[in-house]
């Protein structure tokens, strides 16, 4: 009984590296299979359209594929892909059609030529090479270990265990390399480095955008849906599209200060201060004590080196002495003096 307890952990310990290696190799095989399946494309039309659209960049977005974006051109790209899939065109032919119109930058994967091709195949070629090298090492080691055992005639336990150990170790290492490379291939293919940092990178909640976008377009003369769509887009960091939604809301109701302020803020955040400033001045003409408009206008004027900045910021401090930004604004004004 006691001997059995002692033996089991040893057997387990011996089995663990082997099991780990098998698990790692299975993972590697799954990764490769998935990559191949994505490349050859699923059978269902929607899934095929989606798979191709996922490799095409949305031209008016930042780091988003045509499969994920609600921008009009992204929808146009999806419709075009659907039309071409129905016409029996191959994914590569369809992608070429987009490259003809938009240039190679429209594709969301490294080009399959030159350095790009090398990048794709280098890791794939590395795995069998590494495995072969490790097998040779294992073979050489077993030969020396075998002769050492014969020469010294050690205890039977050591002769049974020692030659196996490096072999299993080699297998585990090879598997680790394979997993690391699979992760590398997948990361390079997914384009994780392509997405901007911030909220846009984290969200994929497109159902919400779908609904809001449909609502706004089905009631194009109502302010509310455009504001909601603008907020959702802004939240995702898609400021240019957000600005368009807010523009629409402001045009429908030019006196809607909250909408005008959101628009000004979206302009300011997307580097269009020259558009934000007159809009903020309009808001302040209607409501001279609009705290946020005073703050944003003052900061934009300050950034542009306009002398009115200090006057605007002083008005902000008069209206909102307790504002969280008040202390920083005071420091800014003192620094300017």
């Amino acid at each position: 009984m006691a001997g059995g307890l002692r033996r089991t952990p040893v057997a387990l310990r011996r089995a663990v590296p082997g099991l780990l290696a098998i698990a790692a190799l299975l993972l590697f095989a799954a990764g490769l299979t998935r990559a191949v399946l994505v490349g050859s494309g699923p059978t269902d039309e929607d899934a095929r359209v989606r798979a191709i659209a996922a490799t095409v960049r949305c031209p008016e977005c930042i780091g988003e594929s045509a499969a994920d974006s609600q921008a009009p051109t992204a929808r146009g790209i999806r419709e075009t892909i659907r039309e071409q899939v129905r016409a029996g065109r191959e994914p590569d032919e369809i992608r070429r059609w987009f490259v003809d119109r938009y240039g190679p930058g429209i594709l969301l994967e490294p080009p399959a030529r030159g350095l790009g091709l090398l990048l794709w195949w280098l890791p794939v070629a590395f795995v069998p090479l590494a495995l072969a090298a490790l097998a040779v090492t294992r073979w050489a080691r077993r030969r020396t270990a075998g002769s050492a055992v014969r020469d010294t005639a050690r205890a039977p336990e050591s002769s049974a265990v020692q030659p196996g150990r490096p072999a299993r170790g080699a297998l585990v290492l090879a598997a680790a390399v394979a997993v690391a490379l699979t992760v590398g291939i997948v990361m390079a293919g997914r384009g994780t480095g392509d997405r901007p940092a911030g909220p846009a990178a984290a969200t994929t909640g497109d159902t919400e955008l779908d609904v809001l976008s449909a609502a706004a377009r089905s009631a194009p003369d109502e302010v509310g849906p455009w504001l909601s769509l603008g907020r959702a887009l802004e939240h995702r960091g898609r400021l240019a599209e957000a600005a368009q939604a807010y523009e629409r809301a402001v045009r429908l109701d030019p006196k809607d200060s909250p909408a005008a302020f959101r628009l000004a803020f979206a302009y300011a955040r997307s580097g269009q201060a020259e558009r934000a400033r007159p809009l903020l001045q309009e808001i302040l003409a209607r409501d001279a004590r609009h705290t946020e408009a005073l703050l944003l206008l003052g900061m934009l004027q300050h950034e542009a080196g306009q002398p009115e900045a200090s006057e605007t910021l002083r008005r902000f401090l008069e209206v909102a002495a307790e504002h969280p930004a008040a202390a920083a604004v005071r420091r800014l004004l003192e620094g300017d003096r």
Partner: protein, 181 residues
């Protein structure tokens, strides 16, 4: 034989480091490759894509009928504010160069006919030939990146210039006037 474990550990460290180095090199390189070919030059001087269909008012128009003219094709939507700002510029350009052979044509994309008709009435552009493109497929065939975008098609039907964003009188002078001579 007791040296076996440190040997494996050392090899594990080596292999791990090599894998990490490989990863570190592959991912940013792949990213740089993709980022590098970001915005290509406009493929100018190729034949413009066909453009034919009904406009928001139901009238059929085919760009091919304008062969021999210089056409300015503006891609717009009623919900696009820069489009509203640029229509007066486009209408003024057509007025100045109509005799010389300039025609302004609209591609009304991602829009509803009723909204588009109201927009055209408001900006006084109801007389311009228009093609409706509710699902943006025409826009994509033209390689449109965003709205508004403007294309200049020469008398032979070739793309001569394109402009992303609101057009200005200066841009039109620079890209249209030489084609009218």
């Amino acid at each position: 034989m007791t040296g076996q474990r440190p040997l494996i550990a050392r090899r594990a460290v080596l292999v791990g480091a090599a894998a990490a180095a490989g990863l570190a090199a592959t991912v940013p390189l792949a990213h740089a490759l993709r980022a590098g070919d970001g915005t290509p030059a406009a493929p100018a001087n190729r034949l413009a894509s066909p453009l034919a269909g009904t406009g928001p008012d139901g009238t059929f128009f085919d760009l091919a009928t304008l062969r021999g003219h210089v056409a300015v094709v503006t891609v717009w939507a009623s919900w696009c504010e820069p489009c509203r700002r640029e229509f007066p510029v486009l209408l003024a350009a057509q007025e100045s160069w109509y005799e010389a052979g300039l025609r302004v044509v609209g591609l009304n994309t991602a829009d509803r006919p009723a909204s588009a008709r109201r927009f055209l009435r408001e900006v006084g552009a109801e007389a311009l030939p228009m093609v409706s493109d509710p699902d943006s497929r025409h826009a994509v065939a033209w390689g449109v990146r965003g709205i508004p975008e403007t294309f200049v098609v020469d008398r032979g039907g070739r793309l001569a210039a394109r402009h992303q964003g609101e057009v200005t009188r200066e841009w039109l002078v620079a890209s249209v006037e030489p084609l009218l001579r």
